[in-house]
């Protein structure tokens, strides 16, 4: 077990370096210079731009810049923003909690409602409510989140005037309600369908017949036998989905003006703050890698047949 985890963690290192390098290279290839962009449209002095670039090491060859960056990162230093001269760690510390809160909110919503709906439909496959649910989820899946976001904004804010169209305080849970629902709805639809299919399949399984034949109470059959086995694929999906939710937040945050990671990365991208983009992206990559490890370990909990050597 321990060896398995250690091996997985070791495997993460090249993946992590590879993906940060890729993003770093892409940032380097972007047209536009951050220092020049800082000067804006009005007149400026090119020698000042040169000077600042030299001071920041932006005139070095790309490999050296990457080495410097990685060297700093290993020591926990994310670097400094070019314009504001603030540590990037601060910027990350401001943005991440907001997005994580939004993601967790959306995630909880996905899990509770998605599995709930899936169970309701899955227990009676091919009934009216099952077909209704399948249609509903299909519609949800086919709506890109910006469509859903704007529809919600239009109906809840402009028509019914229940909320403000955009989030006023990114740290208030109440304000994050609508964005979280929009963010979670796609995953919700998948979770519901997945639960439903898996339940429907397992209902026909031999062990279910055995359990019924043994005369176990229905609550126990559904709760212990059926649920436990049906949830395995759902858990895989949920695990890999956390990373997706976090990036999906880029769109949701842009619609509802939540000041989270999406907002920060967008701003950094347009200002060519390369180190900020790479820093935030690396963290998202880490979250993604860790959650997929977590999922694999959860299998062992849910399905005793699986063991890791």
């Amino acid at each position: 077990m321990g060896r398995y985890v250690a091996r997985r963690l070791l495997q993460m290192i090249p993946v992590f370096i590879g993906s940060t390098l890729l993003i770093f290279l892409m940032m380097y290839a972007l047209p536009g210079d951050p220092v020049r962009a800082l000067m804006g449209e009005q007149a400026f002095d090119p020698s000042v731009v040169e000077n600042i670039r030299r001071d920041l090491g932006l005139d070095l060859p790309i490999w050296q810049q990457y080495a410097n960056y990685l060297g700093g990162l290993v020591q926990g230093d994310f670097g400094t923003e070019i314009a504001s001269q603030r540590p990037i760690a601060d910027i990350i510390a401001e943005a991440f909690p907001v997005t994580i809160r939004l993601t967790l909110f959306a995630f909880t919503f996905t899990v509770l409602v998605g599995i709930g709906l899936g169970v309701i439909a899955g227990l009676r496959p091919d009934s009216v409510r099952d077909r209704g649910l399948l249609t509903l989820t299909l519609v949800l899946i086919s709506m890109p989140s910006f469509v859903l976001g704007y529809l919600m904004q239009y109906f809840f804010a402009f028509q019914l005037q229940l909320t403000t169209p955009t989030v006023q305080d990114s740290e208030s849970i109440g304000d994050l309600f609508l964005p979280a629902i929009v963010l979670g709805s796609l995953s919700l639809a998948y979770v519901a369908r997945l639960t439903r299919t898996s339940m429907a399949e397992n209902l026909r399984a031999d062990y279910m017949r055995t359990a019924v034949a043994k005369g176990l109470p229905r609550g126990r059959i559904v709760g212990v036998h059926l649920m436990r086995n049906s949830l395995i694929p759902v858990v895989t999906f949920l695990g890999t989905d956390i990373g997706n939710l976090m990036t999906g937040a880029i769109v949701t945050e842009s619609i509802f003006n939540v000041q989270g990671v999406g907002d920060a990365i967008f701003e950094a991208l347009t200002r060519r703050e390369g180190a900020t983009v790479v820093g935030i992206a690396s963290l998202i990559v880490i979250v993604y890698l860790l959650t997929s490890l977590l999922v694999d370990l959860l299998y062992a909990v849910l399905d005793p047949r699986i063991r890791y050597a």
Binding site: R8, Q11, P14, V15, F16, G18, S19, L22, I23, M26, A29, L30, P31, L138, V139, I141, S142, M143, P144, F146, V147, Y150, L151, Q153, Y154, F158, P165, L186, S187, Y190, R193, L194, T197, I232, P233, T236, F237, T240, D241, G243, N244, M246, T247, G248, I250, V251, S254, I265, F266, L269, V277, A281, I284, V285, Y288, L289, D296, Y299, I306, Y308
Partner: protein, 318 residues
């Protein structure tokens, strides 16, 4: 997002979700190719979901190929003086003012009709590119195994680790000119990983099959084995994943255009129109809602189509 669509496919297609190893025993490898395809077709013909979506997709394809058949108005012609933000005239079917005019005084109906081409082209184009690229990588990794497999699998991991939207944002910002082709290539560059895993998984299973071993023993060349024996048998799961992902790619293109890094004017695209329309949400919501609905209907058609194809090709679910 295509990732999500694909994730779901992997988990439903996979019958034994062995962790870590992506050995998705996805395809009914033992089924004879011919009977599988004809069985599938028989099945599809009777599926109302398939028929409805096929009709819708056919319609969209015609829209994309010959938009001029549906409207005489041009999507670019603007007349601010007369048509600035004119609401839809619902009764006037298929006329230029049927769905109203946008903030530039352009016919929304004409723009919706002409916008189909970009979405369909990107959707199909990315799907094909991803299928080719992903299958190639997956087959090479799965067939040759060893260090080649390790390297390619790590590369796949790296690309998988990069969040799709984030990667697309950065890649697309690199390009100054963002034509349909550029958007397609960028999306494929980041999106091939799922297919690669699926392909690798099925190739690993197939290469142990008797007929492959036999072909090898008979001295068939590697290319021949790969192209004649392995590819046809690995195709089913790839097709399943691809068709379902198609809808996702269309949604992704619209999302990227909406974020301002996808297609740009003067290319007529639903995503671009949604992004323009967001400013009018309070004032003239139809400018945003009409192209949004088009995106959703298109994605829905391809999803239903993909679902039907999967049900037909995956006998385990029958």
């Amino acid at each position: 997002m295509p990732e999500k669509t694909a994730d779901k496919v992997e988990t439903t297609v996979a019958t034994d979700p062995a962790p870590g190893a992506a050995a998705t025993e996805a395809a009914p490898a033992s089924a004879k190719a011919r009977s599988l395809w004809s069985d599938a077709w028989n099945d599809l013909r009777r599926n109302p979901l398939f028929l409805v979506s096929a009709v819708l997709i056919l319609l969209l394809l015609v829209l994309a190929a010959a938009p001029g058949l549906f409207t005489s108005a041009s999507p670019r012609d603007a007349d601010l003086a007369k048509h600035f933000l004119q609401p839809p005239n619902w009764g006037n079917f298929f006329a230029a003012d049927w769905l109203g005019y946008d903030g530039q005084g352009r016919s929304i109906y004409a723009r919706v009709v002409y916008g189909a081409r970009a979405s369909i082209m990107v959707g199909i184009g990315v799907t094909l590119l991803v299928a080719v690229l992903g299958t190639a990588v997956g087959m090479i990794a799965g067939y040759f195994g060893g260090w080649l497999d390790s390297v390619l699998s790590r590369v796949t991991d790296v690309f998988m680790g990069i969040p799709y939207l984030l990667g697309a944002l950065v890649v697309l910002t690199t390009f100054e000119e963002r034509s349909v082709w550029v958007v397609m290539l960028a999306m494929a560059f980041l999106g091939w990983t799922q297919i690669a895993r699926v392909a690798r998984g099925s190739v690993i299973t197939i290469k142990q099959a008797d007929y492959v071993v036999a072909a090898k023993a008979l001295g068939a060349s590697t290319t021949r084995i790969l192209m004649k024996h392995i590819l046809p048998n690995a195709l089913a799961p790839i097709i399943v994943v691809s068709t379902i992902a198609l809808g996702g790619y269309i949604a992704a293109e619209a999302t990227l255009s909406f974020l301002g890094v996808g297609l740009a004017e003067p290319t007529v695209s639903w995503g671009v129109d949604v992004s323009t329309g967001r400013q009018q949400l309070r004032n003239a919501p139809y400018v945003l809602i009409i192209p949004s609905v088009m995106v959703s209907v298109t994605v829905l058609s391809f999803l239903m189509f993909g679902d039907a194809v999967r049900n037909a090709l995956d006998p385990k679910l029958r």
